[in-house]
């Protein structure tokens, strides 16, 4: 297949554009989750997105009789449920002796359990437009419509816009929460804004990638980007680029290979980027560190034996 043939196909174009958008937005905003040491929060969000999406679907069907598959309706439901799950996990961790890891696991499973229950109810019932609703579990990039793409692009840009607008506040709060409060910035306001953007970054990908694998889009690019950069700006840009490139390459490969699902291939591509970063980055590479340390020790040894010979 030539490049021209590839871009002539509407489905291929949508798959590529949709996943690249998801990768870019999730990569950029995932950096803040990574730096707040809450990478797994996106897994909670993705799993909570399932019942959120399904409730939104049911509500749309009940109220309007149709429109249950509108991306905007589903994203709204997912964002609400994701936000509640995040708030719940953080609240439990803050007010009880339960750690944040446990709180996140509890939130994740309870929302996912509710989602599975709703999924069965919908599958057994008579609902218009319920076909394909189970795609949310494992994702299906080939069903991305133009409307889906435009919606995730607009919502994703909104989240990135918030990040750019509140860049200074996000950076300060992430680096030094106490100083941020002491300087007069309301912690609750910044956290709400920041977690809203992370929730958006996660839920826009759930339909295409699936809620199980979505966490990789938020976690892997920042972890890879961190190995190469020394500033927050550099990290966010590189992480967004890794997310976009990894998604693009993964989507391309999945189309090239024919019957392979897109989400898993993207995750594998992102992992390859992560692995290379871990091994080859100049300052933090585990290989480079071992080699340079060995070289330095050898030089030290030569110097010392030389001194010994002279005296």
């Amino acid at each position: 297949m030539t490049v021209l043939e590839f871009f002539a196909d509407h489905t291929y174009r949508m798959v590529l554009a949709g996943t690249v958008t998801i990768g870019f937005v999730a990569g950029a905003l995932g950096s803040f989750a990574y730096l707040r040491k809450q990478s797994l929060i996106s897994d909670v969000i993705a799993h909570a997105a399932l019942p959120g999406t399904l409730v939104a679907f049911l509500a749309a069907v009940a109220v309007a009789g149709t429109g249950g598959r509108s991306m905007l309706v589903l994203i709204t439901g997912a964002v609400l449920a994701g936000t509640i799950a995040v708030a719940f996990a953080n609240h439990v961790a803050r007010t009880s002796k339960v750690g944040i890891d446990t709180a996140m696991a509890v939130a994740l499973t309870v929302f996912f359990g509710a989602g599975m229950l709703l999924l069965r109810i919908i599958a057994n019932g008579e609902f218009p437009g319920k076909g394909g609703i189970q795609d949310y579990l494992f994702g299906n990039a080939s069903v991305i419509t133009t409307a889906d793409f435009v919606t995730s692009l607009v919502v994703g840009m909104l989240a990135l816009g918030l990040m750019v607008l509140f860049w200074k506040e996000f950076a300060l709060r992430t680096f030094d929460p106490d100083q941020s409060t002491a300087l007069g910035f309301r912690a609750g306001v910044i956290d709400t804004l920041m977690f809203t953007t992370i929730v958006i970054a996660t839920v826009i990908g759930v339909k295409a990638v699936g809620l199980v694998l979505m966490v990789a889009f938020v976690v892997t690019p920042p972890a890879a980007a961190r190995q190469w950069t020394r500033t927050l700006r550099g990290m966010v840009w590189l992480s967004a680029a890794f997310g976009a490139v990894g998604s693009g390459v993964g989507a391309w490969l999945s189309i090239l290979l024919g019957t392979v699902p897109t989400g898993p291939l993207i995750v594998l591509t992102l992992f390859a980027i992560f692995l290379v970063s871990l091994l080859a980055s100049p300052r933090r590479s585990i290989v480079v560190t071992v080699l340079s340390r060995r070289r330095a020790r050898a030089a030290l040894k030569r110097e010392l034996t030389g001194e010994g010979a002279n005296t």
Binding site: F175, L183, G184
Partner: protein, 265 residues
Amino acid sequence: MTIASTSHEDVLAQGQAEYACVTRNLSVAYRDELILRNVDLRVPRGVVMGVVGPNGAGKSTLIKAMLGLVKPLTGTTEFFGRPLAKVRQRVGYMPQSATVDWDFPTTVQDVVLMGTYGSLGWLRRPGKAERARAMAAMAQTGIADLASRQIGELSGGQRQRVFLARALVQSPDLFFMDEPFQGVDAKSQQAIVGVLHTLREQGKTVVIVHHDLMTVRDYCDHVTLLNRRVVASGPAADAFTKEAIRTTYDVTDDDGFLDSLAFVS
């Protein structure tokens, strides 16, 4: 009667203006454990006040509660006679350096620049003027040559000087410093002491949480001895006495502990 009460209030108002900071009846509890009991503290303007006490005495908690970073159970704190929200820009805070992630991807100058964020407020970005102020603060603490270094590459003393520069850039009238000398080499200690002296000469007020009893007299002209409550507070000569230290640290005289502090009155 009316005249008398008015003049009394005038005296009171004048008296309060002499203080950079007044805390009344401050109590703090973590969960249901009381950490600080009815703390009353007055910090006169233009002094360096050392808050001294054993581990777990609540020294950091006191500062955090005064600054509203920890919610107190009871009590109020006023700065220059007003609540914190009205005078935030005049109050600077230098936390213990261990409280942040030093592997954070940021450079020395970016951290120091954060000191200007308070005066900028929401949404406004730092510009040329802010960068110049950050540069000046880095020069004052002797870290100008480290400006573009990643903070993870710094020594303990250099980290403290980064935090000090960040506090200076805010140019507050009252500084709170939590253990500024912790894990600091001799060179950094000298640099920090130099800044402390400059601040005092400029008439600024400094409250430092301090660990080392031996050097309290060198750095501080006022002392508050704290162990869950205020044992003594005032000019060093009055408050930093053997008797008060003994009570604060819960030691008996034959421990030899106090003999090492022979210079104490």
